[in-house]
């Protein structure tokens, strides 16, 4: 009988906590075994040509909280993927990129990619015991529950934003070891924040605006729970604290690109990108 594994037959757990709202999951490795092709010999032999690594990437809806953001620091994480009766475990995964985005008509989504320097496979590398759901009471954010603070938006409507944080890692390998002796969490981290707006009076800068008219922006993004019910018994501060899923504050992001787009069927849209760096 034909069988298949549907979404309900899979689970991702990180450090013992199940990940909610998972939309896509990908993990795997590319073997470093390379052929040695010598002169005048008819056979080809294979040998590992560099240390083996693997990678994992996942996308999820922003529900309850922003689970992956905590791994932009120096600590690695371990995890396991269950599908049907299989369990794949991985260790020493270091987040290499993090993303968060939302557009009108969408639920805010999160993305992450991590490099696995430890092990990945069916071995019993650790035992979390029974994984616990991260949270059973899902509180989904929506595009209508996002506060963006940026000067341009008083008269220009924001259609979407996309945040990307690159987290550089440098593995240090001993020449005779298959796993790194240490993984340096490098600095700085590159931040890219892209907005798409429907323009009204937005003024595109002169292409030579750097250095005389260099534009730096302070940006705050607040992503709130979509289904939070305001509690009149609590103060505004307490309500905000409960309603809030994630807050990003970025200081002095540099405007690096602007792109005007239009066609006969749509309103004028402008994409602009702000960039910044965060030192550890």
């Amino acid at each position: 009988m034909l069988s298949r594994i549907r979404r309900e037959g899979q689970k991702l757990a990180v450090n013992g906590s199940g990940i909610n709202g998972l939309q896509s999951l990908s993990f795997g490795y590319q073997s470093t075994a390379q052929p040695v092709i010598p002169l005048g010999v008819e056979r080809v032999m294979y040998a590992p040509s560099s240390p083996q690594t693997a990678s994992i990437s996942a996308n999820s809806l922003m529900v309850y909280d922003d689970f992956f953001a905590q791994f932009t620091g120096e600590s690695p994480f371990s995890g396991q993927v269950n599908y049907k009766d299989q369990t794949i475990k991985f260790t020493e995964a270091y987040l290499s990129s993090y993303s968060c985005s939302c557009a009108i008509g969408e639920i805010p989504s999160l993305g992450m990619q991590a490099e696995i320097y430890g092990e990945m496979g069916t071995g019993n590398y650790f035992d979390f015991g029974e994984t616990t759901p991260h949270d059973t009471d899902l509180q989904v954010a929506g595009y209508n529950s996002i506060d963006i603070n940026l000067d341009e938006f008083n008269t220009n409507r924001v259609n979407s934003f996309a945040l990307d944080i690159q987290v550089p890692r440098t593995p240090i390998y001993a020449f005779n070891d298959k796993a790194p002796s240490e993984v340096i969490s490098n600095s700085p981290m590159d931040i890219s924040l892209q907005f798409n707006i429907e323009a009204d009076d937005y003024k595109i800068k002169n292409m030579r605006f750097v250095p005389e008219e260099t534009v730096f922006r302070n940006v705050s993004l607040k992503i709130n729970k979509n289904n939070y019910i305001w509690d009149d018994a609590l103060s505004t501060f307490a309500n905000n604290l409960r309603a809030n899923i994630k807050v990003f504050h970025f200081k002095s992001l540099l405007l690096v690109s602007e792109q005007y787009q239009s066609d006969s069927n749509n309103n004028v849209g402008i994409n602009f990108v702000l960039k910044g760096t965060t030192l550890r």
């Binding site: 010999v41 590992p48 550089p168 240090i172 001993a174 020449f175 005779n176």
Partner: protein, 293 residues
């Protein structure tokens, strides 16, 4: 003449009764004549280009060392491979003044060569890469190289019948140690991470010429110098510029950890160190240790 493909030019070396088919990635043969133009007063141009020294040739190749394999094709005998490492090890400690060469055949061109340099490179979890250079001097009336370049059918070669390069030297199980401790120690007795090892040895010979013969009748071995360039993540303080009176052993093991070859550096002395860091990187240190024979 048809172009010859790489798999039709085997590189085979012989030393004594041992034969080794090299797992070579590239090979180059160069020949040179030591000629001088003869000018004379009252004559336009030159009279001729005349030899003032012997013709020389050299062959260099890079290869992956195989630590065991078929050494006698006629008898099917297997045994320790890597003739070159054995030659280098015995030569540097040799007290004999005269030395014999290694027979090298490359696409049906052959010659007798003296090992002039031998190097090994170990990078993280990679096959060991070796490079060598042989000087082919010829002997008496014999030219340094003989034979015509010819393709040889790869079908005729027998080699270890495996798909995994299990017998190849690989950094996976290799080590670089002093007699009793790791090669990288800091002042606080911390063991550093040795990220790469580049070892090399160079030999010097004196060819003995006789009048009336173009090529030398024999060779006298003079001396050798060897060095290891080590990259690490700590600033080495365990070995001083005056050395530490210990031998350093580079132990290269096969990928299946079954066979090994040894390079022993005799009481090397630190000759230089470098400490380097660049923006968005980590501090790297390098040191060179040297021995002389």
């Amino acid at each position: 003449m048809a172009t010859i493909r790489y798999d039709q030019v085997p590189l085979i070396i012989q030393f004594g009764k041992r034969t080794e088919r090299m797992i070579a990635r590239e090979c180059s043969l160069s020949e040179a004549a030591d000629l001088t133009p003869i000018y004379s007063i009252g004559k336009y141009g030159i009279s001729e280009q005349a030899p003032q020294g012997a013709r020389t040739a050299s062959i260099s190749f890079s290869y992956s060392p195989v630590l065991t394999g078929l050494i006698r094709e006629d008898t099917g005998e297997t045994g320790s491979y890597n003739i070159i490492n054995d030659v280098a090890n015995s030569l540097k400690n040799s007290k004999n003044s005269q030395t014999s060469g290694v027979s090298i055949r490359f696409g049906n061109i052959s010659g007798e060569g003296l090992l002039s340099s031998y190097s090994l490179s170990l990078q993280p979890y990679s096959p060991v890469e070796c490079s060598v250079n042989f000087e082919l001097f010829g002997s008496g009336e014999n030219l340094p190289v003989s034979g015509d370049l010819q393709a040889e059918s790869p079908e005729s070669f027998k080699y270890i019948n495996s798909k995994l390069a299990a017998q190849y030297g690989h950094s996976a199980h290799s080590a670089f140690m002093t007699a009793g401790s790791p090669a990288t120690i800091t002042s606080s007795n911390e063991t550093g991470i040795l990220t790469s090892v580049d070892y090399s040895i160079n030999f010097e010979y004196e060819p003995v010429y006789k009048l009336g013969q173009e090529f030398p009748s024999s060779f006298l071995y003079h001396k050798a110098n060897e060095e290891a360039n080590l990259s690490e993540n700590v600033r080495e303080t365990g070995i001083a510029f005056t050395g530490k009176s210990e031998n350093f052993n580079l132990n290269i093991r096969s990928l299946d950890n079954q066979n090994a070859i040894l390079v022993k550096m005799n009481e090397p002395v630190l000759s230089n160190t470098q400490l380097r860091v660049s923006s968005q990187g980590a501090v790297e240190t390098k040191k060179t240790i040297r021995s002389f024979y």
